[in-house]
Symmetry: C2
Subunit: 419 residues, 2 copies
C-alpha cells in the first residue's frame, strides 16, 4: 500500500480493484479475513504498542476520558476484534444469490442477482477496532473500501491496516481493495465526500455532528443514522407486569444508545395502575421523569415536561412521560414528535397491536418488546453496518445486505423483441 | 382541491394525507383507481377538448412536431390511458407483505413489512397520460404524490386531475393525496425539489436535460435514469444466426429507446462469419455503422469510429462496431465505455456466459437475448415507474416495489434485553 496516496488516488485504487473483489469466490474472501485476523494476532504487540503511543499523544492533547476509553485497544481488545472478524467470515455470503428467476410470456427468463455495491467509504471516530470491522465487512460483501478513522487513532489504524494489506496479499486478493486514509489532515474527509466517481456509499460512524456534516457535504449517498426518539406506549389492554418491565428496560438497560426509550406514553385509564410502580423503579435507578400535568396528578414529584421535552433524545437517565386518552392519541404523538426510529406498544388487544404496527411509520415497530432490541445482531442480521433513519435503500438496522444491490439477469435462447 | 396552493403547501397537503392512503385497504385503493378511470371515460369530451386547446396554444407557440405528438390525447388515447390505470388496479398490492419472520435466540420474532415510501413527486414533460399513470401508481402503492407536468399540457392535466379528485372523494380516499401543480411557473420545479420535508422521492420523466437538472438541484433522492450505452457482444462460441438476429433486433427494433444497443462487439475470430451478414442487414435498414480498423478490413464501406463513438448514446440509426480479441477485452470495453444499463452476450459456451454475467456490472445483464427487452413490463414487474441507473434502492427497471420500503416488525411476549 502506497502510504503517500491522495484521498482521490486512494479512492481510484479502491475502485480499480473492486471488480476483482466483487467476483472473488467465497472461500477466498473468508480465507483473507481469517488470514488478517491471524496476522493481527501475531502482531498483537506491535498493534498494542502503536495504540499506547496514540493514547500518550491523546493524553498529552488533553482528550476526554470517554474518548480515551474508546481509543484504547489492549491485548484482550485485539483478541475480541479478531474474533469479531472471524465471525464475519463465518456469515453466509450475500453475493451471487439469484432470486425470483421466472419465465415471461416472451420466453425470456428473468431473475435478480445480488452483487456488491462496489466501493464504500467509512468515516469514523476514535475506536480503532472499526478499521478491522469495516475491512472484514467489505471483504465479505465483495466491496472495496476506503477508511478514514480519527486522527487520534492514526498509529493504531496504520498498524492494523498493515496487517490487512499482508492478509489480502497472502490470500490473493488485491491489497488496494482496503484503503486506509493515512493523512490526519481534516480536508481528507471533504475529499472523500466529493469522490462520487469512485465511491458508491458513505457510512459514517460517530456522533450526530459527524453524521450531519457528512450528510450535508457528501455528493455520495450516505447511510444516515440520525435521532432515536423512541417511544413505549402502554395501552389500557396491557398486562401490568409486562408494561412495567418493558418501560424500565427500554429506558434503563442502557442510556446512551439510540434505541433507548425517550418518551413513555400511557393510556390514561391505565396510568393509576402502572405509573406509581414505574415511577418508583425509575427513582431507584436514578432516572429523572418529566411529565405532563396528568402525570403529575398521579406522581406529584415529577418535573413538568415542556414542549421541547417531547422532541428530546436525552441519551441519558431522563424520560418524558405523557398520559394519552387512547391509542390514537399515542400514534399521533409518535408521528409528531418521534424520529421514526423504534417504537413499541404494550398491549394484549390484538386489534390495537395491529393498528400500532400499521399506523406507526418507524423503522422498527415492536409489540410487547423492549426498544433496546433494535439492533442488527438482535435482529439476526449477523453484522451491523449501521442503522439507517432514511427510507430508501435500507431502513433500520443494516446488515451485510445493505452493502449490496441487485442486478437483473436475463436468459433466453435468442429472444428478440417485437413491439 | 384548492387550485391556488403554493407548491410547498401542495406538498404539505400530500404529506398530511399520506398516512390515510398508506393504510387504506387494497379494495379501497383499487376502487378509487377504477372510479377515476370511469369518471375520466365519462368526461372524455371535456378532457379531449382541454387537450385541443393545449394543442392549439402549442401550435401557436411553434412547438415541434414530436412534442405535439406526445401532447396529443384523443378519445382513443384517453381510453388506452384508462385501461392502463385499470391494469394497475389489477396488479397485486405490494403493501403490507410481511416477509422473513423468524425467531431469534432472545425469543423475539423479527420480520419485515413492506410499506409505502410516503410521498413521491413526479416531474414530467408533455405526455398528459402520465398524470393518470402516476396517480394510479401512487394510489396502488399507498403513496401520496405531487405531480408537475409540462406547461404545454396544463389544461389537459387539470382536466384529468379534476377527475382524479372526484374519484378519490367518491371512494373515500383523501382528495389531497394526489396533488397537481397547477401553476406553469418554472420556479415550481425548484420549489418541489427543495421540499425534502414532505417528499420522499422524485421521479423525473423526460429528456436527459430534465433529469440532469433535477438530479443536480434536488435535496430529495431522485430515481435517476441517465445514459443507456448498451452493448451486444458476440462471442466466438455464438450461434451465427442467433448472433445476427440479436445484433439487428437490439439496435433496430426501435432506435429512440434507452435499451437499444449502441455498440456491437464481436470476437475477432467470429467476425468474418457474422459481420458481412450484419452489415448487409443494417444497410438495408438504413443503419449507419462506425467501425474500428479491423471492422473496416472486413466491411470496407464503414466510417472509422472515433474514441468518442464508444461513449455515444446515439438513440438513432447509428451503431459503433469493434472487433475484440476475446471476452476479456469485451468486458473491459463495456466496463470502460458502457453506462451500466443493459448488456448482452451471444454465446453457446456456458463458462463464457457465466463470466459475462458475473463480471459485467450493469443493471441488466443478458444472455442470448435482445437488449430491447430491458423494460419493467417485459421483466414482469407489472408497471414501470422508471428505470434506475443508480445502484442504491433500485437498479434497472423499477416497478411498484420501487415506491415502497420495508420496516422491521418485532413481536415477543415481554422480551427485555440484557446486555
Amino acid at each position: 500500500m502506497d502510504t503517500n496516496l491522495s484521498v482521490l488516488d486512494s479512492a481510484r485504487c479502491a475502485r480499480a480493484s473492486s471488480g476483482l473483489i466483487a467476483t472473488a469466490p467465497t472461500a477466498i474472501k473468508n480465507g483473507a479475513i481469517k488470514a488478517i485476523a491471524r496476522i493481527i494476532r501475531e502482531e498483537t504487540i506491535a498493534v498494542a504498542n502503536a495504540n499506547l503511543v496514540d493514547i500518550e499523544h491523546a493524553q498529552h492533547n488533553g482528550i476526554s476520558q470517554p474518548l480515551l476509553d474508546r481509543l484504547r485497544l489492549d491485548e484482550s481488545g485485539i483478541e475480541r476484534m479478531c474474533q469479531a472478524a472471524e465471525a464475519v467470515a463465518a456469515l453466509p455470503d450475500p453475493v451471487g444469490e439469484l432470486s425470483g428467476l421466472h419465465q415471461q410470456p416472451s420466453g425470456i427468463r428473468v431473475g435478480r442477482m445480488r452483487i456488491p455495491l462496489g466501493v464504500f467509504g467509512m468515516i469514523y471516530e476514535s475506536r480503532p477496532n472499526v478499521t478491522l470491522e469495516a475491512a472484514s465487512l467489505a471483504i465479505k460483501s465483495g466491496n472495496a473500501c476506503i477508511l478514514r478513522g480519527g486522527s487520534e487513532a492514526i498509529r493504531t489504524n496504520c498498524a492494523i491496516a498493515d496487517c490487512i494489506t499482508r492478509g489480502l496479499e497472502e490470500s490473493g486478493l488485491p491489497a488496494e481493495g482496503v484503503q486506509l486514509v493515512r493523512t490526519t489532515d481534516r480536508s481528507a474527509v471533504g475529499e472523500m465526500l466529493a469522490a462520487d466517481e469512485f465511491i458508491d456509499l458513505i457510512v459514517p460512524r460517530g456522533g450526530k455532528g459527524l453524521i450531519e456534516r457528512v450528510s450535508r457535504e457528501s455528493t455520495i449517498p450516505v447511510l444516515k443514522h440520525l435521532d432515536g426518539v423512541c417511544h413505549v406506549y402502554i395501552d389500557d389492554s396491557a398486562d401490568d407486569d409486562l408494561a412495567v418491565r418493558i418501560a424500565i428496560n427500554s429506558k434503563a438497560e442502557k442510556y446512551s444508545v439510540c434505541n433507548a426509550a425517550e418518551t413513555l406514553l400511557i393510556a390514561f385509564s391505565k396510568a393509576r395502575t402502572v405509573l406509581p410502580n414505574i415511577a418508583a423503579q425509575f427513582a431507584d435507578l436514578g432516572v429523572e421523569m418529566r411529565g405532563c400535568e396528568r402525570t403529575r396528578a398521579i406522581v406529584p414529584n415529577v418535573a413538568l415536561a415542556t414542549e421541547q421535552d417531547w422532541y428530546e433524545e436525552y441519551l441519558d437517565a431522563v424520560i418524558a412521560v405523557k398520559l394519552v386518552d387512547d391509542i390514537d392519541e399515542a400514534i399521533a404523538h409518535i408521528s409528531k414528535y418521534g424520529s421514526a426510529h423504534t417504537d413499541t406498544i404494550v398491549a394484549t388487544d390484538l386489534q390495537k397491536t395491529q393498528q400500532f404496527i400499521n399506523q406507526v411509520d418507524s423503522a422498527s415497530v415492536m409489540v410487547n418488546t423492549s426498544t433496546q432490541f433494535a439492533d442488527g445482531f438482535e435482529f439476526g442480521l449477523g453484522a451491523e453496518i449501521g442503522i439507517s433513519t432514511d427510507k430508501l435503500h435500507a431502513r433500520g438496522p443494516v446488515g451485510l445486505e445493505g452493502l449490496t444491490t441487485q442486478k437483473f439477469v436475463v436468459y433466453s435462447d435468442g429472444a428478440i423483441r417485437h413491439r
